[in-house]
């Protein structure tokens, strides 16, 4: 960035003359729990979910802006660790924290805005075409498995708990998706079926998923979690048939002519997904 915190606004470079921008509001008790996650991980995750949105547009993240609300008694150490997490996640994609606002609030509230630069055409949700393959990069259902374990009072297996605390979006391979010919892309934040539904609706196509091809977490009910669990911030994309994809991408289905819907093994999947207004 050209100018960081300390003026009325930050100045961020936007080389292609366009900027990609996305915002999320995270509320304590709903999007994170201080008894489930250390502040560093809360910061990592808050940054990750917005950076993943930028990358899913085919853009390169450049900067985060943070709005932070906290009760007056919040420990400075806690806030410092959160900021470290935000910065370290930004460093994964060579972005930086450009500015922010800090206010008093009843609960911890974190508003994260991510900006990105477009070096070429955007990869939107509407570009999927019949004949394309559907592929995913990254973990599915792991974060949700972690939430279910934590909700049951468990603290292991550690890798599933960690998956909830700190998603690991495969930024590098997603940043190359345009090279591989991606026609549509998004990050899986609400659940694979629900999110692919956004591509189906935007592009006016049917998406057929092969359940056996979907990578699942190592738990008994793995496929359900992989199809409906959000927050791993895997990337799901469509590519022309025959596209040569690196090993990080796993082909799980195809795009066909038909009504805008997602079928799993030939049937609509009614397992649910994240509802932004559901009660916990």
């Amino acid at each position: 960035m050209e100018l960081g915190p300390g003026d009325d606004a930050a100045i961020v470079r936007a080389p292609g003359g366009r900027v990609v921008a996305t915002t999320d509001l995270l509320v304590e008790g709903r999007h994170f729990r201080r008894d489930w996650s250390p502040p560093y991980d809360i910061g990592r995750k808050a940054a990750a979910q917005n950076l993943a949105d930028v990358v899913a547009m085919g853009a390169r993240p450049t900067a985060l802006l943070i709005g932070f609300g906290a009760p007056p008694g919040t420990a400075v150490d806690w806030v410092d660790a959160l900021c470290d997490g935000l910065r370290d996640e930004c460093a994964q994609v060579e972005a930086g924290v450009a500015g922010g606002d800090i206010v008093r609030a009843e609960a911890v509230v974190l508003a994260v805005t991510a900006l990105g630069a477009l070096d070429g055409p955007a990869i939107t949700r509407s570009g999927a075409r019949p004949g394309d393959v559907v592929a995913v990069a990254g973990r599915l259902g792991h974060a949700e498995a972690g939430v279910e374990l934590l909700s049951a009072g468990l603290r292991e297996p550690a890798d599933l708990i960690d998956a909830h605390r700190r998603p690991r979006p495969p930024y590098a391979t997603a940043l190359r998706a345009r090279e591989f010919g991606a026609t549509a892309m998004l990050d899986v934040s609400d659940g694979l079926v629900q999110d692919l539904g956004h591509i189906a609706e935007s592009a006016g196509v049917r998406i057929e998923i092969d359940g056996a091809a979907v990578p699942v977490p190592p738990v008994p009910d793995g496929l359900r979690l992989a199809l409906t669990g959000g927050e791993d911030h895997a990337f799901a994309a469509t590519f022309p048939e025959g596209a040569e994809l690196p090993a990080e991408w796993r082909t799980i289905g195809r795009v066909v002519d038909g009504p805008a819907e997602v079928l799993v093994d030939g049937r609509p999947y009614r397992g649910g997904g994240w509802d932004h207004f559901r009660l916990p």
Copy 2:
């Protein structure tokens, strides 16, 4: 904008290859009260304070991103009116709402990010030079007078109550500040003396204010309110001596060599200003 809500992120034009970005987090009970302001005005004000930050950089606002948290029982009409307010304020400067996020929260929380395009050099806080004049455009102390009336249980005079509910930053003349030669600019959000202090510190200059030249609200303690009250989002700027300023700008002082401080009638002013972490 090129692409609005509905994808992973919005795409906003940034013609000069740079984007100005700023974010504010507004919390019910602290930054606004639902019993003091109708939702339309809360929206207008939330947009205004961010658009004013963008304009104060010498940039043209292009888009807002909104993070909105509310209790589940919040009436849809209330939210609609808030959004109308956000949009109508954006329309004042030909910007639009590019996207957002809506979540459940205990209290109403509003995270507003504003983006802007730079058609020339930014007007930062550090550009003030000894010899410059200091001028303000817009109202000072009116919003704070309104807060004091509301706090005392009063509902008039209406123009002061309205000043609290809905600031009227003089966007048009501030958007032309570069033409008039502005060397530094900001919007007065925390109080004139405190905010001019930011220019004094950034530029390493002393600012001398002539109390008799400061426009004051029509209340007994007008000068105190004009010097310390925030939230009118007037613009304060420095211009080279002799600059021909339109009538909206009122010269109130000058920039001189000296330690980084603000003097009012030759003395430091100890009246206070907005503290982002004070208890109400």
